[in-house]
C-alpha cells in the first residue's frame, strides 16, 4: 500500500514539474523510479574548465525498511546519466552514487527527488571534507571552493522554467 501511495505522489510531482520526464516506475520489489530532468549538470572539467551537461537521468530506489530505518545517504538516489558527474557528493569510484547526507527514516521519495535536484544543480552542496556524512569527491570540493561562480548552476526551482532564471545559469 505504501508503494501505491508514494507512486501516486511521484506522478503528481511529475505532472507539476514540466522539466521532469518519468522513464520508469516499478512497484515490484523495491520501489524504483527512473526519471530525466532537463537541468544544468556539473561534469568532469576539461583543461580546468567545468563541463556543464543539459540533462540528468536519476535512478531512485526506495526500500520498505526505510520507512523506519535511516537509509545511508547514498542509498536511495543514483545517476544513470551523465556518467561523469563532477560533484562533491558524487563518488566517481562508485558510479552514480549520490550522497544526500543524513536522511531520517520515513523521508518520502518525493522529497528525495527534490533533494537530488537541488543537490545536483549545486543549490545545496556540502564542501566540508571533514563531514563524515556528505562528501564523496574531495577534488570537486576544492574545485567549487575555488570557483564559486558555478555555485549554484541555476537558481530555478524544480517547478520553474530554467529560462526564467537564466541570468544566473
Amino acid at each position: 500500500m505504501w508503494k501505491l501511495r508514494e507512486a501516486e505522489d511521484l506522478m503528481a510531482l511529475a505532472e507539476k514539474a514540466a522539466r521532469l520526464t518519468v522513464l520508469e516506475l516499478d512497484l515490484q520489489g523495491d520501489l524504483t523510479f527512473v526519471y530525466r530532468i532537463h537541468m544544468p549538470v556539473p561534469r568532469t572539467p576539461v583543461n580546468g574548465q567545468l563541463q556543464i551537461g543539459r540533462e540528468a537521468v536519476f535512478h531512485l530506489v526506495y526500500q520498505e525498511s526505510w520507512l523506519w530505518e535511516s537509509p545511508a545517504g547514498w542509498g536511495p538516489l543514483g545517476l544513470l546519466f551523465p556518467p561523469d558527474p563532477y560533484h562533491p557528493e558524487a563518488k566517481p569510484a562508485l558510479r552514480g552514487a549520490l550522497c544526500l547526507g543524513r536522511l531520517p527514516p520515513g523521508t518520502r521519495p518525493r522529497e528525495i527527488v527534490l533533494l537530488g535536484y537541488y543537490m545536483l544543480s549545486l543549490q545545496a552542496i556540502q564542501l566540508n571534507e571533514l563531514d563524515p556524512s556528505g562528501v564523496l569527491n574531495m577534488s570537486a570540493c576544492d574545485y567549487f571552493r575555488a570557483h564559486p561562480e558555478f555555485v549554484p548552476l541555476t537558481r530555478a526551482g524544480l517547478f520553474e522554467d530554467l529560462e526564467s532564471r537564466k541570468e544566473t545559469s
Binding site: 515490484q28 520489489g29 523495491d30 535512478h59 530506489v61 526500500q63 520498505e64 525498511s65 520507512l67 523506519w68 530505518e69 535511516s70 537509509p71 545511508a72 545517504g73 547514498w74 542509498g75 543514483g78 544513470l80 556518467p83 563518488k91 569510484a93 562508485l94 558510479r95 552514480g96 552514487a97 550522497c99 543524513r102 536522511l103 531520517p104 527514516p105 520515513g106 563524515p132 556524512s133 556528505g134 562528501v135 564523496l136
Partner: protein, 437 residues
C-alpha cells in the same frame, strides 16, 4: 585468563569447559530463584547488544548466574578514557575490542558458560544468532539500534529488554518489550516526530563504514551504570523464570539515584507504528546452501502459503509471481560496473555495497555498487537465480532467505550454522514435482 577461538569475521568463541575432575559441585542454589533454576538458566541463550558501561556489567553478571550461552555484540574499541566508566583496565585496554575483552572476562568468571562475541554492529551479525536467542538484550540508548532490534525481535518472536542511563539525572532505566506476544508494543511504538528525526544521526558516506560509531564517550557515573545493569539482570530473570510474574505489556522502570524516586510506565501498542510488527514463519532447511536452490524454497512457499499455481505474465505456470518477494540477509546485487574499464558485469548474488563480487576481465576486483543493489531480488532476476545453489548466490551456512507474499513472510534458515543453534524444528523440503518451472 581463558583464550577464545578466533573464528574470523571479528567473531570469537569460548566453549563451555567441564567442571575439573575431583572438584565438588560449586554451584549452590541462590535464594529467591525458585526450584531448579540452574537447569533453566543453563539452557538459555542470551544475546547482549552493546558491551559498554551497562552491557559489560550485565554480561559478567549473566555469566555468574550460570546462563548457558552468552552472545555479546559491540563494534567499538576502548578509548583512553573508557576505564573511568566501563569495566576495563586503565592503559592496557585502550584500543582493545570491547567484545573480545568482555568475552574473556565473562568466560573467566564462569568457564562453564559458552561465550560468543562479535566485534561488529548488531545489524551485521547473522540472523541465526538472534534466532537462537531466548532473550535479546540491548544495553544503550541508540534509538536506531532499538528500532532495528524491535523489528527483528518481533519478527523472530523474542522478548527484548533494554537498559540505559541518563547521566545528568543519575537515572537508570530498564524497558521490557515482550515481543513474543504479537500485540506487544515495540520500541518504536512510543516514538514521536522528534525521535524519528534523530534517527538520521549515525550514517557515514563510505559504504564500508556506513554505520558511524558513537564518538561521544559515556560519561555517566559508574554507580548509575551498575544500577542499570543490575535492573536489567533482574528483569531478565523475571522474563525467563517461571516463578516470576509475567505480563504481556511493555514496561519501563526508572530509578533516580539522586532522589530515590521510582517511575513505572506501561507502553501500549501503537497501531499506527511505522514498524511492521510482523511475525515470520521460520523453517529450517536441513541441506547445506550448496545443495539448496531458490526453486526448492519457492515450491515450499507456494504450496504451503498459497496452494494455487502462480501464472507468470508470459503464460506457462511458474513459481515466480509478482507478489512474491525474495530477500537475503544482505542486499542483492544484480550487476556491477568495473571501476577500471567501465564494463557492466552481471553479478546476481547477495552482497553488501562495497563487497567484492568477483573479478572483471580486465583484472580489476569488482565491487557491489549502490545503484545495482536491492533489498529484494528484482522480479526479472528471480527466474535466472532459481536453479543456482544458494552458496553461489552468496548465502553462507546458517544464512537466511526470506520469501514474502502479500500476507506472510517465511524465513528459511539454510543448513547448519557454523556455531550454536537449535535445530530441533528441522524439517525437509517437499519433493519437486515434475514439470514445474
Amino acid at each position: 585468563m581463558g583464550s577464545g577461538h578466533d573464528l574470523g569475521k571479528n567473531c570469537c568463541l569460548w566453549q563451555a569447559e567441564p567442571q575439573p575432575a575431583g572438584t565438588s559441585d560449586d554451584f549452590v542454589p541462590l535464594k529467591g530463584l525458585g526450584p531448579a533454576p540452574a537447569d533453566i538458566l543453563r539452557s538459555l541463550v542470551v544475546v547482549v547488544i552493546g558491551l559498554g558501561a551497562v552491557g559489560a556489567r550485565l554480561f559478567v553478571q549473566l555469566a555468574r548466574l550460570g546462563i548457558g550461552t552468552l552472545v555479546g555484540i559491540d563494534p567499538d574499541d576502548y578509548g583512553p578514557e573508557s576505564w573511568q566508566t566501563q569495566p576495563a583496565r586503565r592503559w592496557t585496554d585502550a584500543g582493545a575490542s570491547k567484545a573480545r575483552r568482555q568475552g574473556e572476562i565473562a568466560h573467566d568468571a564462569n568457564p562453564g558458560t559458552t561465550v560468543l562475541t562479535f566485534h561488529a554492529f548488531a545489524q551485521d551479525v547473522p540472523l541465526w544468532v538472534f534466532r537462537a536467542a531466548d532473550v535479546v538484550v540491548a544495553a544503550g540508548d541508540n534509538l536506531e539500534l532499538m528500532v532495528w532490534a524491535g523489528v527483528s525481535a518481533a519478527a523472530l518472536g523474542k522478548p527484548l529488554l533494554q537498559g540505559a542511563v541518563f547521566g545528568e539525572q543519575w537515572l537508570a532505566l530498564v524497558r521490557k518489550y515482550p515481543l513474543e506476544h504479537p500485540a506487544a508494543a515495540c520500541p518504536a511504538c512510543a516514538l514521536g516526530t522528534r525521535e524519528w528525526s534523530l534517527l538520521r544521526e549515525r550514517h557515514g558516506c563510505d559504504p564500508q563504514t556506513a554505520r558511524v560509531q558513537g564518538i561521544e564517550p559515556t560519561r555517566t557515573l559508574p554507580p548509575v551504570c551498575s544500577l542499570a545493569a543490575s535492573l536489567l539482570a533482574g528483569e531478565l530473570l523475571r522474563a525467563v523464570l517461571p516463578a516470576a510474574s509475567q505480563g504481556t505489556d511493555a514496561e519501563e522502570l526508572d530509578y533516580c539515584l539522586l532522589t530515590h524516586r521510582i517511575w513505572q510506565t506501561k507502553y501500549a501498542r501503537n497501531w499506527q507504528c511505522r514498524c511492521p510488527h510482523e511475525r515470520w514463519r521460520q523453517i529450517d532447511v536441513a541441506g547445506p546452501p550448496s545443495e539448496t536452490t531458490l526453486e526448492m524454497l519457492l515450491m515450499d512457499a507456494t504450496y504451503d502459503i498459497k496452494p494455487r499455481p502462480l501464472v507468470a505474465p508470459n503464460g506457462p505456470t511458474s513459481l515466480v509471481s509478482p507478489t512474491v518477494q525474495i530477500r537475503g540477509e544482505t542486499p542483492f546485487a544484480s550487476f556491477t560496473i568495473c571501476s577500471h574499464c567501465g564494463m557492466e558485469v552481471a553479478v546476481r548474488r547477495f552482497a553488501k555495497v562495497g563487497d567484492s563480487v568477483g573479478q572483471c576481465g580486465c583484472g580489476e576486483t569488482l565491487r557491489a555498487i549502490p545503484m545495482a543493489t536491492r533489498s529484494v531480488i528484482p522480479s526479472h532476476e528471480i527466474r535466472h537465480c532459481l536453479g543456482i545453489p544458494l552458496s553461489e548466490l552468496g548465502v553462507p551456512a546458517g544464512g537466511a532467505i526470506g520469501v514474502a507474499t502479500e500476507d506472510l513472510s517465511t524465513y528459511y534458515f539454510i543448513g547448519q550454522p557454523p556455531l550454536v543453534c537449535d535445530f530441533r524444528k528441522s524439517r525437509p523440503l517437499p519433493v519437486k514435482p515434475a514439470g514445474v518451472v
